[in-house]
Symmetry: C2
Subunit: 511 residues, 2 copies
Amino acid sequence: MKKASNPVSGVPARQNHRVRRLGLHTQHQPVVIMRSDCDVCRSEGLSSRSQVLVSNNGRAVQATLFQVTGDGLLTLDEVGVSETAWQLLGLSEGDEVRVSHPPTVESLASVRRRIYGNRLDGRAFDEIVRDVVAGRYTDVHLAAFLTASAALPLDTDETAHLTGAMINVGERMRWDAPIVVDKHCVGGLPGNRTTPIVVAIVAANGLVMPKTSSRAITSPAGTADTMETLAPVDLDLATLRRVVELEGGCIAWGGAVHLSPADDIFVRVERELDVDTEGQLIASVLSKKIAAGSTHVVIDIPVGATAKVRGEEAANRLAAQLTAVSDRFGLSVTCVQTDGSQPVGRGIGPALEAFDVLAVLQNTSDAPDDLRRRAALLAGAALEIGGKAGKGEGAALAFETLADGRAWAKFKAICQAQGGLRQPPTASQRHPLAADRAGRVVHINNRKIARLAKLAGAPQAKAAGILMNVRLGDEIDRGQPFLHVHSETAGELAYALEFAGRAGDLIEVEA
Amino acid sequence: MKKASNPVSGVPARQNHRVRRLGLHTQHQPVVIMRSDCDVCRSEGLSSRSQVLVSNNGRAVQATLFQVTGDGLLTLDEVGVSETAWQLLGLSEGDEVRVSHPPTVESLASVRRRIYGNRLDGRAFDEIVRDVVAGRYTDVHLAAFLTASAALPLDTDETAHLTGAMINVGERMRWDAPIVVDKHCVGGLPGNRTTPIVVAIVAANGLVMPKTSSRAITSPAGTADTMETLAPVDLDLATLRRVVELEGGCIAWGGAVHLSPADDIFVRVERELDVDTEGQLIASVLSKKIAAGSTHVVIDIPVGATAKVRGEEAANRLAAQLTAVSDRFGLSVTCVQTDGSQPVGRGIGPALEAFDVLAVLQNTSDAPDDLRRRAALLAGAALEIGGKAGKGEGAALAFETLADGRAWAKFKAICQAQGGLRQPPTASQRHPLAADRAGRVVHINNRKIARLAKLAGAPQAKAAGILMNVRLGDEIDRGQPFLHVHSETAGELAYALEFAGRAGDLIEVEA
């Protein structure tokens, strides 16, 4: 057998280029811009949208190259650098970088094998996730990996491998308490914003609950989006630890503490695809819980015809899958199936949901009762797991903690520790949608309502979303508004209303 | 049942922005750059990497928005426009455009359904392909569609739907001849560049062969890449028609005549993914043949352990699938299985393959015999289909046409009509890979050889690629070069040699 001899005789010297900060925002994807007629583009044979390796003082990032012709933007010895690339390389004005071909991304061979239906082992997932976090995957590669994992769903082994791989590339926290509880909702139900209430109740009863939440993937608001209207959530690891040591709990954005940096990247692409699969969902949830040092997790699975989980059977399957994967990491999971037939509370969107949360915590007379009950149910499960209430007595203790003001006091203290309690913003643009006949509300389409809230600007526009005026079983008159669309801008309001005009039934009314 | 009333009260007036041509090259994806603090970004709630609609005088394109902060690049009332967007909108300096939210891309719902394993009908494929060609799909969406079609392979119905959809969005040619022949190779075999020879032979015998070819997808050279080193291939529809009416044949780049504009976009993403699936392959081939007005197609299917099609069974399946789909469009397909065990000819890469083509056409003494025989076999099949030779006598006529110089004369005439015969470029950087033991060559790894040629710069660098010095069965001495790597730049040569050093066996030698 013969081997090709290794004839590398030394890589040729490459010209350095002076960096030019463009102030260009490109999200996670580092971008550099160079003249197509510069020496590096010519000698390296680079074309527009090539992947390149940009290096400076031992640091290196893979970036997408765009080329310009003409001298309007850059001189021949300059390279324009996007903000993401600037930060990752730790550049200063006047620095020089080298631009060259990036090394081959070997893990893409595993992605291709996965597309063609081959299962992957733990090592393959480790290599993929490491390359993803290092910025070596383009949008095309990321979308292919996520699509392949949706088309042939990840099995239990693969889901565990992916979970492990996602933990391995992030930070990991450890706590001094024997029991560290956490909660999670698998989503799909607009307005289901129990987390801030649950953390307040659980921490008020002396348990440790270092809660990190994500921003919305395909929904109008994630817990981090809502909480951000009430207090800072971009806590670094040291701040998060200080808040939890001080108050027993926190409600922080998981992305800021880098507990699962791979997840932040996957989520961005899942949002663009509007696809959210079970394996990715489980790996996303569990990797963050395990990295956060949790020992026990209560998982809320809303079930309903237009919720993410549509029936009891699917909910049982998801619960079994969650338990099977979490078992491998020694994490105890308690799944709670809840009613997913209609939105929870009145508000849908970051600030509108925050007002519901405040109403429940402050015991106001118009606080949405469904939100209060759900939060108490989930907090109760956590209190039982943590030994603060006997079996079946957790919910009662949770209601008590709300009623006597201890939950509200704890919430204010947590917000204070996170940087100060804020007043959520309100929308300048509001528009009612009116019923065109009288009768009883018999169906609410969660998916269309969520879509409407997103088109109105949520979650990027914090004050945007939907305020529901009816619930299932309510009687409504012809011409009476059944919801209000809230937007921060006239453009987004028009965009949402255009959708409402052609979306068909948002709610169904029976005479 | 109730319907939401349509409450659109008029879209708010939007501010126009003055265009600024950036000279920015972004391939097919239109890009615009705006200040994040400009009135449109604020009023429309746009963020970096939002999709936006850019319109000017009734023309509109969907583009990816990047935002900049600071006033180094743009003023608040300017929008920077990439070359692709500039061309699509037909802009001139001083023009103004409107930037707003794009309409919802409804066909993405079909892509999502396909990801989850649902088959799509003809209407869904029509809508998807129409949106793709209109530039409404981001890289994430394109990659998801292609990956879903690979993970659950397109069935016969879907492949036919996709083929039809791709025909519907492009130009379509009609010819006065009762028989219009075409040929295609499904690829996977480095150096298999028979097309220019086949067209010359067939046209020299009076048949009509308006050949359009693609550029490389995952290979080191496509026929268009090779032909471009010999003559212009970017012919518009009128020029192509004139060439064929004059000479009976042409060898043009399909992308330039827009016979299948969707294919050009899919191919770019397939190249980035390095994935090339059967359904996409069939739709890509047949849509272009049908759009070109062909009535009969000869399809070369090279079969070999490291070729694209690895065994006879797979070749038969592909042939059956090609026939089943082409039948629906009244196109007659003749599949010819050929030896795919080693590269064809000596050169691999655009210019190096062109030199082999010239040698065969010019009857030089060192012309590669395998390339000559393959071309004659395929041309013979076309001559039989076209009634120019009796059954089993086509190959003999083809050899005769090469031997008596009529093929070379026809080829020169075609090149002249396309814009003039050129001399292919040669590489400045060449490096031998030497055998590390003596013996007989028993295996050549097509895939690794192709990869090496690509890393050396092919097909973008026309002169780059591999010159093979051995064929299967040859005896080789220790230290004797078995191939030479050709590069246009030192950087690419180093990159290729680095791969060769760690790729393992490119060829196998038995003592």
